[in-house]
């Protein structure tokens, strides 16, 4: 079947999430013609996620139709090369989205920046501890950008997503009430910080007694009514929970639907095409220029959309898979270490300690939108890692995310899994516990990577992406140390009992952990270890930009979304330069 070939446009953007929406807005408002292709359905933020229907845990968390439809497309997974990868048949450890607005439509609103250290992790670790301190099979890398390069773009993202917080470091001056360990900010957050909950106040007292500095973690759920950089209005958050997995009924959580698409829809040179599944990026006979993309439209027709510039702005997995399906870049080969596409896949480490009380009762259902009180002493490289014997770190916090009745119950260790004793324990402790979360970094390793599966296919007959991934020793050592510190905080809270989680030695794809899958098409300054340059421009195909979590060389502690949004702003500026002068980059 020959594809229908459409009229060429300036830019075709694949995906309509954080990257796709911001990229489209920036380029369309600069006068370029932009077509955005999205595999998922379109929703109307004004009518489709209203009260009371959004307050349905079963519908949105267990049976969601805004997560990726695995019946059509999933990935396969194994812990190591000796195993046969098998398909992820049901949603478990992570939940990529499938709708206009992408995965960020149902994100939790954790809008932290990374630290300056994170972008130069290889150089700084090498300088402080020597190269031999880096685990032998760890592909630790710099990003090719520094804090001074990208700080203005974090600022831009925060003005789009209305991030609320309190600066802890304004142009190098430490500010009371903020995070003293953050990178220097050029100005204050656009919105004020969240107010501290009862749990947050107890946590703040406990960590202060241990010598740490508590602060309210930044959030993308509005802390006041806010009109953003694109002149879109968002309303103050009600703190009614139902955030992560859900689309906000109030439109109070910034996401592509609430913060960008209303403005984007008014751009005359922009066109959104939902229900369009991109199959590949097309290149010319030299292999060095992209000519556009081929996709399946809602009626099942194969369509070719020519474009002068192609932007892959989809989820980490889709960006990497489209490169592999298109034959762009050299696929990574773990045995030789050669090749780059699929190299440096990484995830997010984490754990938690629960404190159970018999003399305190909380309101765990009031909250959401990242109402949290945090510490950053264990993040980055603040504490000398030499005697500790690991690299990486974490923030810790107590968050009131809106405990829902199916998944939000916690019981003390030793409680039976079901039966009368279990019932008594959930009745006693649903409102009488608080959790301290460890949100930790995850390094990239030679044996952790993405490639195409040799056996399993998607609904279009194309190979599924294959993930080969397991936890590594460095990160497990780090988690042991962080858990011990977290237990000290738990003890300082003077509850009646402590509990904890143990994920085990091997990564498993069941049980929700984090939708922070990163890497596989990483940015950097060396084409032998990166897929894109520091402007997110393909080393191989100069008019192709691959933007998103896929560009992270390894995963810092802080949660990826603000950095993904920042990279979209940064790459959009680079593309505007590229349009003016195609030789300007690299």
């Amino acid at each position: 079947m020959s594809a229908t070939k459409l009229k060429s446009v300036d830019v075709v953007v694949v995906g309509s999430g954080v990257v796709g929406s911001i990229m489209s807005m920036e380029l369309a408002s600069a006068g370029l013609s932009v077509v955005c292709l999205e595999r998922g359905k379109q929703f109307d933020i004004d009518t489709d996620f209203k009260s009371p229907n959004v307050y349905d845990e079963l519908k949105f968390d267990r049976h969601s139709d805004i997560f990726q439809n695995l019946a059509r497309d999933t990935l396969t997974f194994r812990n190591n090369n000796a195993q046969t990868a098998l398909p992820m048949r049901e949603m478990g450890a992570f939940k990529p989205g499938e709708m206009v607005g992408g995965t960020a439509a149902h994100w939790g609103g954790n809008a932290r920046r990374f630290l300056p250290h994170d972008f130069e992790m290889y150089s700084r670790i090498k300088e402080r501890y020597g190269a031999s301190f880096i685990p032998e099979d760890c592909n630790l890398q710099d990003w090719g950008v520094t804090w001074d390069d990208i700080e203005p773009y974090y600022d831009q993202f925060e003005e789009i997503f209305g991030v609320g917080g309190k600066a802890g470091n304004l142009n190098g001056e430490i500010q009371a009430g903020g995070n003293p360990h953050e990178g220097p900010r050029s100005r204050e957050y656009p919105n004020p910080p969240t107010r501290r909950t009862h749990e947050g106040a107890l946590f703040a007292d406990a960590v202060t007694s241990l010598g740490y500095v508590p602060f309210q973690g930044p959030t993308a759920a509005m802390t006041q009514d806010y009109r953003n950089l694109y002149r879109v209005q968002m309303l103050e958050c009600v703190r009614g929970g139902f955030c992560s997995s859900h689309v906000c009924a109030q439109g109070a959580k910034a996401n592509p639907l609430s913060a960008v698409l209303p403005a984007l829809a008014r751009q005359p040179t922009f066109e959104l095409r939902p229900l369009c599944n991109v199959l590949r990026v097309n290149v010319d006979s030299t292999g060095k220029k992209a000519t556009g993309v081929t996709y399946i439209d809602p009626r099942g027709n194969e369509i070719e959309q020519p474009a002068s510039i192609v932007v892959l702005g989809a989820y980490c997995f889709s960006n990497v898979r489209l490169l592999l399906l298109s034959g762009i870049g050299t696929p990574y080969e773990p045995l030789t270490g050669k090749g780059v596409v699929g190299r440096n896949y990484s995830y997010q480490q984490g754990g938690s300690v629960q404190v159970f009380f018999d003399d305190r009762e909380f309101n765990p259902f009031i909250g959401g939108g990242q109402v949290n009180t945090s510490i950053d002493e264990f993040n980055g490289d603040l504490i000398d890692r030499g005697p500790l014997g690991f690299i990486g770190g974490a923030y810790m916090n107590t968050a009131t995310s809106g405990a829902t009745p199916i998944k939000g119950k916690r019981v003390p260790p030793g409680t039976p899994r079901w039966g009368g004793e279990w019932k008594k324990a959930v009745a006693q402790y649903y409102r009488r516990n608080m959790s301290i979360t460890i949100h930790a970094s995850c390094l990239s390793y030679r044996h952790n990577y993405l490639d195409l599966d040799p056996t399993y296919k998607d609904a279009y007959g194309l190979p599924l992406l294959r993930m080969t991934f397991d936890w590594n020793e460095n990160d497990l050592r780090m988690m042991k140390y962080l858990n011990e510190r977290c237990i000290e905080i738990g003890q300082a809270l003077n509850g009646s009992r402590l509990g904890g989680t143990n994920k085990g030695m091997h990564f498993g794809i069941t049980g929700y952990q984090s939708t922070h899958n990163v890497g596989g098409a990483v940015m950097g300054s060396d084409p032998s270890t990166s897929v894109v340059n520091k402007y997110l421009q393909s080393w191989d195909v100069s008019n192709l930009f691959v933007v998103g979590g896929s560009a992270f060389p390894q995963n810092p502690a802080n949660g990826p979304t603000a950095t993904i949004g920042m990279l979209a702003c940064w790459a959009a500026d680079a593309i505007k330069d590229y349009v003016r002068n195609p030789d300007s980059l690299a």
Partner: protein, 237 residues
Amino acid sequence: MLDHIITPKWGTEEMTLSDNPIGASYLYLLEPEVRFLEAAVEHLIPTDELGPGARDVGVVVYIDRQLAGSWGVHGRQYRGGPWLEGTPQQGYQSRFTPQEVYRIAIREINQHCRAEFDRPFAQLAGDRQLRLLEQLEKDEIALPSLPSKLFFDLLWRNTEEGYFADPLYGGNRDKVGWKLLGFPGVPSGQYRELVTSSEPYHAEPVSVLDVQTGKVPVDAEGLPKHVIIKHNSNGES
């Protein structure tokens, strides 16, 4: 230890269950399966001094509705072969859908019960049923067609969902599960003023079903006004 829990005592006039408009009608489950599940879920979340158990709040109706819907046939799950057993880390790899797991497992467990004890599961003494559930959970009963733990884990997951999901789905009748926890359901617009409060907030829970059927009025934001449950310093209502 539990005297401060605000759940009224089960069996008193204020805590009898209302008529369920959905009733005990079944779309997928067969009669012996209903009997089996009514007995089994009552052990998983039993009736006690805190309130009704899973059987009486409609968990079996909930399971039936789930099996009859798209989840019951794994409508959004990857269903392509080959089907290999895999490691625990690789997750669900059975070629059976939830509909098939329930149908096959209940038949085979009842066959096991008849062979060992001359009766189907539902007609065994309570302590015998309890012991069998513990064995199923530990994979100690060898069923011909599937691991007994696969069935047990699915049953427990659905029982917990049915007890705590919105009553919209046929379980959690009269919001019994939410009253047990002290979960108020659909949030109130007052929450933003209460976020810093250290006072325990107790309200009559409001469900999606309550709002959809007009039983509870809502404000301009579409949020219900909560009816606060007063309680003294001991936490008693």
